[in-house]
């Protein structure tokens, strides 16, 4: 923690950056912090409650951030993949950001989560995580951390769904999507959703109905999933932000499985690895095509 604070102080006081994006203690646990004064560096924290993916604040669609000057950002290994995604999709220039990696031992699903991290409180993406060590970083701080507690659960749930009949799966998802109020929190929090104007907001023509209605809800979630294929970094922010507790992480995980299976692509913090959509291979599987 001290190391992180010292680094931030140096970066700010030397004028290298105008803002350090990190976490601080808030009334309901950890919360994002935007440190612009070297003196405030000591507010920075990092622990298991720092579940937020701060890369979303690098999106050029947040002009108020740009006004703070060049940014340094604190990333967990998983978050670094989002930064890589932004680099890949030319939203951020590498020289315009200082990346501070932190070593992670898993985070809680809820930033207010109490110590210690347990199998019950851990975010569902963390058990079995292979991205705890950030590679895309100018500085890496902190000691190596223990494995997150608990065991992966999502793959089993996906397998369970896959085993259902189509009408049953339909019923399952319709029940989940029925709660959607189209608040767009999933989109707003997502570091990879940086469109100037989301297709969901497009009106001429309106492909996706914007009112909370089963038809538009379905179209929205299919489209969101499709747009995330090969781009989603599995930071879990959409699910955390969802006020309706729709298990978007399950859908994200499924997509990750599809692109891994079909295109041998896995989310990575190496920005030079090209994303699978936008590319093709002559030998792509086409068993679904007559």
């Amino acid at each position: 923690m001290k190391e992180l604070q010292e680094l931030a102080r140096t970066l700010l006081s030397s004028g290298t950056v105008g803002v350090v994006i990190g976490w601080e203690e808030g009334p309901r646990g950890a919360r994002p912090a935007f440190i612009t004064d070297a003196a405030d560096s000591s507010r920075l924290i990092f622990d298991h409650r720092c579940t937020h993916n701060l890369a979303t604040y690098l999106s050029p669609r947040r002009p108020h951030m740009a006004r703070l000057g060049k940014a340094a950002i604190v990333v967990k290994g998983c978050d670094a993949r989002a930064v890589a995604g932004l680099l890949r999709e030319t939203q951020v220039k590498r020289e315009d950001v200082v990346i501070i990696g932190v070593r992670c031992g898993g985070v809680a699903a809820d930033p207010a989560g109490a110590k210690p991290l347990t199998a019950e409180t851990v975010a569902e993406r963390c058990p079995g995580c292979t991205a705890r060590e950030p590679h895309l970083a100018d500085h890496v701080v902190g000691e190596a951390q223990p494995e997150p507690p608990g065991a992966p659960t999502r793959d089993a749930r996906i397998a369970e769904l896959d085993a259902m009949s189509a009408p049953k799966r339909w019923a399952f998802w319709q029940a989940e999507f029925a709660r959607c109020i189209r608040c767009n929190a999933c989109r707003e929090v997502c570091p990879m959703c940086f469109c100037e104007r989301c297709v969901g907001d497009k009106t001429e023509p309106q492909w996706l109905e914007s009112s909370p209605h089963p038809r538009g809800n379905f179209a929205w979630h299919v489209t969101r999933a499709l747009h995330q294929a090969g781009r989603c970094v599995d930071c879990g922010e959409c699910q955390r932000a969802c006020p309706a507790d729709i298990p978007l992480g399950l859908l994200n995980r499924k997509i990750a499985g599809i692109v891994a299976d079909r295109f041998d692509y896995r989310a990575t913090d190496d920005p030079t690895v090209p994303a699978p959509i936008g590319a093709f291979s002559m030998s792509d599987r086409q068993e679904f095509i007559l």
Binding site: P60, R61, E89, T90, Q91, F194, C195, E196, R197, C198, V199, K202, E204, P205, W207, H227, P274, I277, G278, A279
Partner: protein
């Protein structure tokens, strides 16, 4: 409010028999925005078109829908009619109620319902059509010809004579291609080099032609009329400006036993060499892989590396330090004339092909291919034109020729006919008889395909006058028996198996595209078939064009071709290009994509999927000149209108004109009437 005119064509009985055209017109007439709906016997006829023009004028139509045949048949006709009546042509669309409806259904009600649907979709689409203007792009009146064989030479000369500047790129040290290796040519038996070398010299001396031998196309950017081509000039290690072609370096070279590519490995050359005496340009190259100097250098030897050629050169033209150089040329059109290579029966084959184990995978001595026979028969060849067996230099008294080796053999991976083999085998049997009077040529053939002017007469001459014995059937197996080769086949006309003893066997192996052609095709964004031959834009009506505007084909890169065909294609391609160059600007259909810079977030997925490289990055700045963002822009000259960018764009910030989201959405929306 739209004022659409709907015109339902009976196409005589073709549509009217199954579709109630009057009902279609009636139903369509009820749609909001449809101001006029009629049916007529022949909409494409002059009176039919007059009806459309009259309605445009009288009813002040804002769009026209013709429910008739496929737009592939008459879209141009009706758009032109609208244009002449003052309606923007792109406000006219067709609904296909013939090929897609009346011709494939029998139930009149169902077919009529479907026709109403199809026309309604198009009505809804046309309501969202906007006037489009034909695109005009400037033309650079220079052409690139890739490949310096007979096709490339012909194309270059025709273009240059027509006043265009030409850059001729040849990957080998000399132009001439396979034709320069041939002894005589069918069906006239005139000497190949005698008719070719004057043209090679003409290329060299032509003021409009820039010859770049020993060079390859590295990159191709741009589009019709405006290509940017990056060309790699491979290091010859000889300074072309100083070399006077005296040949002293070759005499001095200590490495003298490199198998000669020009002689198809039947002869030898030095490490510094010109491929053949009439080479153009007559400038040697050093074959780095066999050169004693470079080998020694590679081993780290510092002193006493060879250097004999450098010592021998009075002009100081040898330059061991020379490196590949790149030049970029701007051209308006490209002719691909990369020619062919021969299939070999060996065990190692490219993907999808198999060799002939039954013919010994090429390990039986004195089994050669057609080009090797050409070199044996050529006066400039390794045997000075004597037909001698490679193994022992004896004169073969019995030669068996096998046609269709690789060709028409799907099991080996090639189902096509190589086209030229029937003819050159006949030629070989004649050359053989002329040189070895008591020699017997036997030909195994499947069919004799001699469909050119004077071709069949030529084959008959080989049989009737020069004693070639033709056996119809494939050879099953070939094996060595002492000094003879046993050729085991079946005479399907006699219905009997035959075994023929041969002193030499010549295989008419399949014609294949040059290796690396796929990469070139990808650079040119041109398509190619499963065998790697370039695809023509239309097999009948656009045989020398590719689907990439401005890229043309000549010769065997498109399919197996003989010399007359290659030359004809080359001249055709040149004529196409000269036609293109005759205009100051090009006109193109405006079916191109357009980016909405305000909405573009600059993720550049579009750039990645565009097959044509039509997407460029541009900076958006505010009034003060501050960079706001970098966004995509479509170069309308390059864009061919596939629309992949639009489907890929997550925010739908790029629209394909003529097929906009609004138009398609309206069509789909019309699904439920």
């Amino acid at each position: 409010m739209a004022r659409i005119g709907v015109f339902v064509c009976h196409c005589g009985e073709n549509i009217g028999r199954t579709v109630d055209c009057a009902r279609v017109a009636e139903e369509l007439g009820k749609l909001p925005g449809v101001a006029h709906a009629i049916d007529y016997k022949y909409m494409c006829s002059d009176p039919g078109q007059a009806l459309i023009k009259q309605a445009i004028a009288e009813k002040k139509l804002t769009g026209v829908v013709v429910a008739a045949c496929s737009p592939h048949m008459h879209e141009k006709t009706f758009r032109r009619a609208c244009g002449s009546a003052g309606l923007n042509p792109f406000l006219c669309e067709m609904a296909n109620v013939r090929e897609h409806c009346s011709w494939i259904h029998e139930d009149r009600d169902a077919a009529t319902d479907k026709a109403v649907d199809l026309a309604r979709f198009i009505v809804e689409k046309v309501k969202r059509n906007v006037p489009l203007e034909t695109i005009r792009i400037p033309v650079t009146k220079r052409a690139l010809v890739i490949g310096g064989g007979i096709a490339g030479i012909q194309a270059a000369l025709d273009l240059a004579d027509g006043g265009a500047e030409v850059i001729l790129v040849e990957k080998e040290p000399s132009i001439g291609g396979h034709m320069s290796q041939l002894s005589e040519t069918f069906p006239t038996l005139d000497c190949s080099q005698c008719i070719l070398t004057p043209r090679m010299v003409e290329v060299y001396q032509h003021p409009n032609i820039k010859l770049m031998a020993y060079s390859e196309v590295a990159e191709v950017g741009g589009y019709i009329g405006n290509f940017d081509v990056k060309i790699r000039q491979k290091a010859r290690y000889v300074d072309a400006a100083n070399c006077n072609g005296c040949g002293a370096c070759q005499k001095a070279c200590i490495v003298r036993k490199v198998p000669s590519e020009f002689d198809e490995k039947l002869g030898k050359r030095t490490a510094i060499y010109v491929p053949f005496p009439q080479a153009v340009p007559n400038i040697p190259v050093i074959d780095r892989a066999s050169c004693a100097y470079f080998k020694a250098k590679a081993k780290g030897v510092k002193k006493d590396a060879c250097g004999k050629c450098k010592e021998a050169c009075s002009k100081g033209a040898i330059d061991y330090e020379q490196a590949d150089t790149f030049v970029t040329e701007k051209v308006g059109a490209i002719v691909v004339a990369t020619g062919y290579t021969l299939y070999s029966i060996g065990k190692d084959q490219p993907e999808g092909l198999r060799g002939y184990g039954e013919y010994g995978y090429g390990t039986i001595p004195d089994v050669i291919d057609g080009l090797q026979f050409e070199r044996l028969a050529s006066a400039s060849g390794p045997t000075a034109g004597k037909i001698l067996r490679p193994s022992d230099g004896k004169e073969p008294k019995r030669i068996v020729f096998l046609q269709c080796v690789g060709s028409r053999d799907p099991a080996k991976g090639i189902e096509y006919c190589s086209k030229i083999c029937c003819m050159y085998v006949a030629k070989h049997t004649m050359l053989y008889r002329h040189k070895v009077h008591d020699g017997q040529a036997t030909v195994f053939y499947m069919d004799i395909r001699a469909n050119g002017k004077g071709y069949d007469e030529f084959v008959r001459r080989a049989i009737e006058e020069d004693g070639a014995r033709y056996v119809r059937g494939r050879v099953s197996r070939m094996y060595r028996d002492g000094e003879t080769i046993k050729v085991q086949g079946f005479d399907t006309l006699s219905g009997e198996p035959v075994v023929i003893d041969a002193d030499m066997v010549v295989l008419a192996t399949a014609i294949r595209p040059q290796p690396g052609i796929e990469q070139l095709a990808q650079k040119l964004s041109a398509s190619y078939d499963a065998h790697g031959f370039f695809n023509e834009a239309h097999p009948k009506l656009r045989p020398v064009e590719t689907n990439t505007a401005g890229v043309y084909l000549a010769g065997a890169c498109q399919a197996p071709r003989d010399i007359p065909d290659s030359v004809a294609m080359a001249s055709a391609a040149a004529a196409k290009i000269l036609g293109l160059f005759s205009k100051a600007e090009l006109e193109r259909e405006p079916t191109v994509a357009k980016v909405d810079a305000a909405l573009c977030a600059g993720c550049f997925h579009c750039e990645r999927v565009c097959p044509y490289g039509a997407i460029t990055r541009i900076e958006v700045r505010d009034r003060k000149g501050n960079l706001v963002k970098i966004v995509a822009e479509v170069n309308p000259g390059v864009c061919q209108g596939c629309g992949t960018c639009q489907a890929t764009c997550p925010s739908k910030s790029v629209e394909l004109q003529g097929f906009t989201d609004e138009q398609i959405w309206s069509e789909i929306n019309a699904l439920l009437a």
